[in-house]
């Protein structure tokens, strides 16, 4: 099931062996671009925008819609387009057993999924109500938990909900194997994209599904991607590729630095709208090296976010999740990220918000990192209003999630310079082809968008996934049956039982053994135990009723195979005292007549038919003789 139309913010549900697994639940926030920014202080400009009325003159909406430079915006608390809008029709969310989260950007919708029934959200009553994912245990690599940014989401869900959602989270480490109901095993693997980001392997004993989401082959700060474990997958689900396949992240970083330097030298300020974790660590590291060489070491860097401090601190203590270089620094022992030094030397300062200490320390020109990258809420709104009028200042967009033109729309007209250097280290299509060649999955599944060139550049045939066999694509709210059939399941045989088996070699290298055993199934695990000894018949003092003798037809007799050579069979019969044997040939086989006993034995290639009088003794004798020639299974 696919619940999200956005290829980089996937939300898929996988049903596998009676477990239902939700893979990521990202929140698509591009819808916020249709709203006006939420200023921290009343802004006269924004509140004086002319009202915009619908042609039918709907008075109710009048107050909420405003016009700015030809675009219409909604003036209210932003609302988000939820991934499960159509889900409730397609599937019942309460059946989700577990949600697997790949990286910090992909669990924004989590509190919504775990919300209790009956709660009507302040801003989105129309589709927020959704069943609590019952008994959902959430698995998540540990650094993610701590990097959570909550303050800006208050409108969408409350702190309480966030906490209750977080309390359901179970932290896991890379390569930790987690059993789900004994049926499947899930394993997170390093994906190399961000601190603690992961790909997942969902496997049973005979099938393997890999889920690749937001992976990177570039070496930035996190542990490099684990590719070897993805090998031999039956199905590989591929999501979260780069959003700007044409841009080279290294080049973009260079551009970022030079633009930043240029602005600051001219006495302007630089605003970097960004998320409070992820790429910012790399940006700070680049700046650390760059500002000294560019002679800008006196320019203050400000990082403003309610979680700025924790984000920076937490990044230092997760050495185990970092790449090798950073790990060996910890062994010295030194902090793994150079921003510790920036903080120590007072070059980088961090504040929870623009209120308080920040206003005292504020010095221009400066570089400010703050959120939210959509420019619709967070402290960034304030800086846009403050610096937007001067052409000395520059805003540099590094997050590729939002179209920068749309993000800027409500601030028009704008004098400040805008530079777009999106940095997206996720896999591009060339890397994907290389990866697929490397890991050789039987099938590839990916969002539809990846199977065709982007609409804007339809001639770029290289900007799509190319693999053999062709990738299977899915669309929003579409259900895709994965192309493999489960045929085997693991079962354990007790050693006592194994000892009692008698294998026979049928063909060279292949042996068979008939197994009759008691099946025990517990927690989705199967065990074969030796069958109980048949109970000794109780001595026949009581007169048995007729029905007591009725045999238990559940005792299965083995199947027979082979064919009977007539001549040898007749010889055997003679040896056992049968005389007067007549053999007639028929079209398909032979008929052996025992005239004395009025018995007829039809022998054909694949069947034997014994027709006799009701003489049990005789029949059993004949039966045993026939069986001698056949193999039992």
């Amino acid at each position: 099931y696919c619940l999200s139309g956005h290829p980089t913010l996937p939300c898929n549900v996988l049903k596998f062996k009676s477990t239902t697994i939700m893979l990521d639940c990202g929140l698509d926030m591009t819808s916020t671009l249709n709203f006006l920014p939420l200023p921290l202080v009343q802004s006269p400009r924004l509140s004086n925008l002319p009202g915009w009325s619908l042609k039918d003159g709907n008075a109710f909406l009048d107050k909420e819609l405003k016009e700015c430079s030809g675009h219409v915006f909604v003036d209210s608390v932003p609302e988000f387009c939820l991934p499960e809008v159509r889900l409730r029709r397609a599937n019942n969310l309460s059946t989700v057993d577990v949600i697997l989260i790949s990286n910090y950007a992909l669990y924004d919708a989590l509190p919504i999924h775990t919300r209790h029934t009956g709660f009507t959200a302040q801003c989105m009553p129309r589709n927020h109500q959704c069943q609590k994912a019952q008994s959902a245990s959430l698995l998540l690599p540990s650094p993610l938990k701590d990097a959570v940014e909550v303050s800006t989401w208050r409108r969408c869900y409350t702190m309480q909900e966030v906490n209750s959602a977080l309390s359901k989270i179970q932290l896991v480490g890379y390569s930790q194997k987690i059993e789900l109901f004994g049926a499947v095993q899930v394993t997170p693997l390093s994906s190399g994209y961000a601190l603690g980001s992961s790909n997942w392997i969902i496997q049973s004993h005979y099938e393997k599904v890999s889920y690749v989401s937001g992976s990177s082959l570039l070496t930035t700060h996190p542990q490099p991607m684990d590719q070897a474990s993805l090998k031999n997958s039956d199905v590989l689900v591929l999501t979260g590729l780069t959003q700007i396949p044409t841009a080279n992240p290294d080049g973009m970083v260079g551009e970022f630095c030079s633009n930043l330097a240029l602005t600051v030298r001219n006495g302007g300020n630089v605003l970097v709208p960004c998320y409070p974790s992820g790429v910012i660590y790399d940006l700070l590291e680049c700046l650390y090296q760059y500002i000294d060489s560019a002679g800008l070491s006196s320019v203050p860097l400000y990082f403003i976010s309610p979680v700025a401090n924790s984000s920076l601190e937490f990044s230092q203590i997760f050495a185990e999740w970092l790449c090798h270089n950073k790990q060996s620094k910890v062994y010295l022992p030194e902090p793994p990220f150079p921003h510790a030094e920036l903080i120590q030397t007072n070059k980088l300062k961090h504040y929870p918000s623009i209120h308080g200490d920040f206003s005292n320390d504020f010095r221009q020109p400066c570089v400010v990192f703050t959120g939210h990258p959509s420019l619709r809420f967070g402290d960034v709104v304030h800086f846009m209003e403050l610096w937007g009028k001067s052409s000395l200042n520059t805003v540099i967009f590094t997050e590729p999630d939002f179209s920068y033109l749309e993000a800027l729309a409500p601030y028009q007209p704008l004098a400040m310079k805008c530079i777009y250097c999106p940095i997206d280290t996720r896999l591009n299509f060339i890397q994907v082809s290389k990866l697929l060649k490397e890991v050789q999955p039987l099938h590839v599944v990916c969002p539809e968008q990846y199977t065709q060139p982007p609409p804007a550049q339809s001639h770029r045939m290289d900007l799509m996934i190319d693999c053999q066999p062709p990738a299977m694509s899915y669309r929003r709210a579409e259900v895709l049956a994965l192309p493999f059939k489960r045929r085997y399941e693991k079962i354990e045989i007790m050693p006592e039982l194994a000892d009692s088996l008698v294998p026979m070699e049928i063909k060279p290298g292949i042996s068979l053994a008939t197994v009759s055993a008691v099946l025990h199934t517990k927690d989705n695990k199967h065990l074969l135990q030796p069958p109980p000894r048949p109970a000794q018949p109780t001595s026949g003092k009581k007169r048995k009723r007729v029905s007591d003798d009725v045999p238990d037809c559940k005792v299965l007799k083995p199947l027979l195979s082979g064919s009977i050579p007539v001549e040898q069979f007749v010889q055997t019969l003679e040896k056992h005292g049968f005389s007067d044997i007549k053999v007639e040939d028929t079209a398909k086989g032979h008929i052996v007549l025992l005239q004395e006993a009025e018995t007829l034995i039809q022998i054909e290639e694949d069947s034997t038919h014994i027709i006799c009088d009701n003489d049990e003794m005789l029949r059993v004798r004949l039966r045993d003789l026939v069986l001698k020639f056949l193999q039992k299974f």
Binding site: I317, P333, I491, I493, T514, S547, E605, L630
Partner: protein, 600 residues
């Protein structure tokens, strides 16, 4: 018969130089590689020549696992890997990998530079040795090779201490290293899931002690320290740089802050400052409280504790000094001890276990006149206190862990023989788990009976499970199938499928018996009578009367026919396949007895 073999090369009925050899399903693993604090000769390292006699270690051992960074668990590692020669993987956790080389280097310095020992490992050897280390995460399942996998659990003893599960197929061994079942001020408690290993190898340092509440001990400790400094005495606390030191520092720090005390606390320099830094960077390995508060205040940034200088020891007035090493066998702690021993106002508090042969052990066992090097006799007048702050599990904790993991058997190491004996009995009586305590060089062999995993075709399994859902499911069900063994691939399939896969045709064996019945009525009526008779006898079976006049019982077919010559006799043809043998045979004998007189 598959078996697990365990041979301690060190730590068998002893504390120190932990080194245990485990053979499990053809794989050989060495657990820890420690040195013995009490010896300075050949006995300080395990006897590695035992392992292979003269073969190469790399060929014999699949991997080496180090549980934590204490020297009695990793001290012999460079000697083992570089001087004896081992090139395979060495597994340990990240903090262990970070701290281990520092302690080794420190140990080397004391041994070579101070005591002038020759033929010891060099700094370069330590570095080369650490290159062979593979770091593991908690709970990460590391695939050593195709069959052997290891998994680390939190052990709580010191920063980065871990328990390891070693698993091959369905056989597994858990080695605890040193662990602590009660959370303390900076570390959490050891935890393991119910992994049901075949064997649990556990330490048993405090096999006989059941410690009183930690709170009492802490109060006691603070009281003694406080009293001593109040009357102007000096307190010496010999510690190892990492582990208890941090715990006691946090304890004293908070106490000093609360009581607003001004008496200086010193911490011997070098190692320990660095050590505190490690703690800051490995916050995720500490306990929850520290993890939660570290953003606001890192617990390992002490306000009242300052670095120690050698000259301070002669300063007048009270002070508290943490000095290394912890067993008073060498280094700074011993120097200070010698200076202060003569004054009865002073106090030495031993917070941990002391191995035999160390000064610490001697003063704890009550000796007051010590013979030092150069035949000097040192008279100890200062007060000697022992307070167990070592983060080892006590008897209760060990039992608790055994209960958690539910092993088939337990093996004790890292403890004194007498105490082990006591715990062994306790485990065997209370938990009914067999328990072993081999001495060094003694091998324990445990037969195991691993189940054999095979693949079962889903069709067969589902068929059986579906039947199992019937009301009388409580009865154990029999499953029939055929095991196909091809090379080393085992698959269990239904018999039909097995025949099909092998290209064999099924051979049908059918029986038809003529049963003569005396009945003058017509065939159809005979059939009807047979039907009602069978129906009444065979209540559990499916008896049907078909439109063409024949009767079926399950898949056995009965047909009545009238031979022309005798109208009083009908012949009943009973026909069945070999698979219905029992039923068919039963029916013929039943019918032979004749039909009951029909109610006219």
């Amino acid at each position: 018969m598959p078996e697990i073999r365990v041979t301690p090369l060190g730590a068998g009925q002893d504390v120190g130089r932990s080194c245990i050899l485990v053979s499990i399903a053809g794989k050989n693993v060495m657990l820890d590689c420690g040195m013995h604090m009490g010896f300075n000769d050949d006995r300080r390292f395990p006897d590695f020549s035992y392992i292979t006699q003269n073969g190469r270690l790399t060929d014999f051992l699949d991997c080496v696992i180090i549980s934590h960074f204490h020297l009695d668990h990793c001290g012999a590692l460079p000697y083992f890997s570089e001087m004896v020669g081992y090139d395979g993987p060495i597994y340990m956790t990240h903090p262990t990998q970070a701290i281990c080389p520092i302690l080794l280097e420190d140990y080397r310095k004391i041994a070579v530079d101070k005591k002038g020992e020759a033929n010891f490992f060099t700094s370069q050897m330590i570095k080369d040795c650490m290159k062979k280390v593979v770091a593991v995460h908690l709970h990460q399942t590391v695939q050593v090779d195709d069959e052997l996998e290891i998994k680390a659990y939190y052990a709580g003893h010191v920063l980065g201490a871990a328990m390891f599960q070693i698993k091959v197929g369905s056989e597994s061994v858990v080695y605890t290293g040193d662990y602590n079942m009660t959370p303390d001020r900076h570390l959490g408690a050891a935890w393991i899931d119910k992994c049901r290993p075949n064997l649990l190898i556990t330490e048993s340092t405090y096999a006989t002690t059941i410690r009183d509440s930690k709170r009492c001990r802490e109060r006691d400790f603070l009281k003694k320290v406080h009293e001593t400094v109040e009357r102007g005495g000096k307190v010496l606390i010999p510690v190892f740089a990492l582990g208890r030191a941090q715990e006691l520092c946090i304890l004293l720090e908070t106490f000093w802050e609360r009581m607003n005390l001004k008496v200086p606390i010193y911490f011997s320099t070098g190692l320990t400052e660095k050590a505190n830094h490690y703690y800051k960077l490995f916050i995720p390995w500490t306990n929850q409280k520290i993890r939660k508060t570290f953003v606001q205040r890192n617990m390992f940034e002490f306000k009242h504790i300052k670095a120690f200088d050698r000259a301070f020891a002669d300063n007048p007035g009270p002070m508290v000094v943490f000095a290394t090493p912890g067993m008073l066998h060498a280094g700074q702690s011993l120097q200070i001890f010698r200076k202060w021993a003569g004054n009865e106002k002073n106090m030495v508090i031993m917070p941990g276990y002391c191995v035999q042969g160390t000064v610490g052990h001697e003063i704890l066992s009550g000796q007051r006149k010590l013979e030092m090097e150069g035949r000097q006799v040192l008279e100890v007048k200062m007060q000697v206190e022992y307070m167990s702050f070592s983060a080892h599990a006590d008897a209760k904790g060990i039992m608790q862990l055994v209960g958690q993991a539910e092993p088939e058997s337990v093996l004790l190491v890292h403890g004194e023989a007498k105490k082990m004996e006591f715990l062994k009995q306790k485990i065997e009586q209370e938990l009914r788990v067999s328990c072993y305590m081999p001495a060094n060089g003694e091998t324990v062999t445990l037969p195991t009976s691993p189940s054999i995993p095979v693949g079962i075709s889903l069709g067969l399994l589902k068929r059986e499970m579906a039947q199992g859902l019937l009301p009388e499911a409580k009865k154990p069900r029999l499953l029939h199938g055929t095991l196909i063994m091809k090379d080393s691939n085992f698959r269990l399939v239904s018999s039909e499928q097995a025949l099909k896969e092998l290209g064999l045709a099924e051979h049908q064996l059918r029986f038809t018996c003529r049963v003569h019945l005396h009945d003058t009525r017509k065939e159809q009526e005979t059939a009807l009578r047979v039907y009602s008779h069978l129906k009444s006898v065979l209540k559990d079976h499916c008896v049907q009367h078909l439109p063409d006049g024949s009767v079926t019982v399950e898949s056995v077919l009965l047909q009545a026919a009238a031979p022309s010559e005798d109208p009083g006799t009908k012949v009943l043809l009973v026909s069945w396949t070999y698979q219905d043998e029992e039923l068919g045979s039963f029916l013929t004998s039943l019918l032979k007895k004749g039909l009951p007189q029909a109610p006219s």
